[in-house]
Symmetry: C2
């Protein structure tokens, strides 16, 4: 009997050329498909929700696959994680990908097309001294950032807008550049971290990193929060700020309909 | 005029085959010597205090070098860190080595031979779920550890003993295996971390990792704290516990005489 399976996946993006399978490169999709194909004894193709770039991390990426395979769904998580760690089930090694949840879903479910929204996290380390242990996990900004100015600018981004100004060239063609951002929080955490969390119904190519770069420029006084409506209205990528580096970005959560997850 | 220079160095050991220079391998000493030789326009040889193994980290490694070079000592830190980051002085990249302090010391000073003591930190992640982002920075132990039992065992280690039982084969030959441990603290930090800090006048090969492995076995109930004096007295490596993995270990601080740092 054919089954359709949805995975929740975390990964440290540092050692990967991004999510998407590419010949001769280590990618998250490529590693997972190799392991799942071995377990299912057939060629498995994963539909990932978000094609994260090289260096981008995930706490809750989702991907689905279907097939007529023998392994019980409830055995996949442990078996796949074991193979991802090199098959030794060793306490001394831990892989840079982990499957945190596996569940069977209706045959018509598709991890990407059925996603109703996502939350991304972007982590800024706001201090002068670099932290060598977090160099791949945050964006270090030396100049003290004005969080209140960043929050004011963030408030202008929330809502339904044409976000063409926050889109890099090079992504897949989109029918429309209109998206709805329902939440954009700027919080301070321990150790000089500033964490931006953004929830929306969809994101354009590099949108979160360009928003992060633009908010950093607002926070450092290079531009004013009051410019934001104008930047958005211009629909001009050159009016927005720089693209913040990939290591600060985390795909945190993907939302589906009621049957699989709430939005 | 010849100068003698002492560096304080932090590094993420993940991407290195340890401290010591080895042909064809990326090592901390090798990277630093290349950068310093370039800046000083002569072959620089570093004397490191501790030859940390592959995967072991440092917060405060020390190393000294001498020579008759033109670059002012106060310019070395910034210039070397810039070169370590690939010479771009870019805010977007951070190296996995950082020089945190540079100072001129008397010509007779030697970073290794003059060290009066060191503190190492060992970080245990005591929880069931792996943390992919910390997999190279701590030792994950799934079984809930009894910190009180670990502290009792630690108290038996403090003092002057023949620590041959905590020495791996393969290190440099030592005149004596007697060392003095002046402090061994077990603290709990946020996020299910157990942090062991050990200070002593010197450490045998793998001594800190074997002590960490032995304390983990005590904490998990596999052996009792009361066995410790017997294990030490046996001077037998096979009586002690396993060697905990390198990623949990950090060289935290090196102590010199009053002129360079207190013990």
């Amino acid at each position: 009997m054919e089954k359709n399976v949805l995975l929740t996946i975390g990964y440290d993006g540092t050692g990967f050329s991004g999510w998407q399978r590419q010949p001769g490169r280590r990618t998250v999709q490529g590693e997972l498909e190799a392991v799942l194909s071995h377990l299912c004894r057939q060629e498995i193709q994963l539909n990932g929700t978000s094609r994260t770039d090289a260096g981008v991390h995930a706490l809750g990426q989702r991907a689905s696959f279907s097939g007529n395979f023998g392994i019980p769904v409830k055995r996949i998580k442990k078996a796949a994680n074991n193979l991802l760690c090199g098959g030794q089930n060793s306490r001394l090694r831990c892989a840079d990908i982990v499957i945190t949840e596996v569940k069977e879903v209706p045959m018509e479910f598709h991890a990407r097309f059925d996603a109703k929204g996502k939350t991304y996290r972007y982590v800024i380390l706001n201090r002068q001294e670099p932290d060598i242990f977090r160099r791949n996990y945050c964006y270090q900004v030396e100049r003290k950032l004005d969080k209140e100015a960043m929050r004011k600018a963030a408030a202008e981004i929330i809502g339904t807008h044409d976000f063409a100004c926050f889109q890099s060239a090079g992504g897949n063609p989109r029918q429309t550049t209109v998206r709805t951002v329902t939440r954009l929080d700027i919080t301070e955490s321990a150790d000089d971290e500033i964490v931006m969390e953004i929830t929306g119904d969809g994101f354009l190519y590099n949108m979160v990193r360009i928003i992060a770069g633009t908010l950093v420029e607002v926070g450092s006084g290079m531009r004013s929060a009051t410019e934001m409506p104008e930047i958005i209205q211009s629909a001009d990528r050159r009016r927005a700020g720089h693209t913040a580096p990939p290591g600060g970005l985390y795909l945190k959560e993907v939302y589906y309909g009621d049957s699989v997850g709430k939005f």
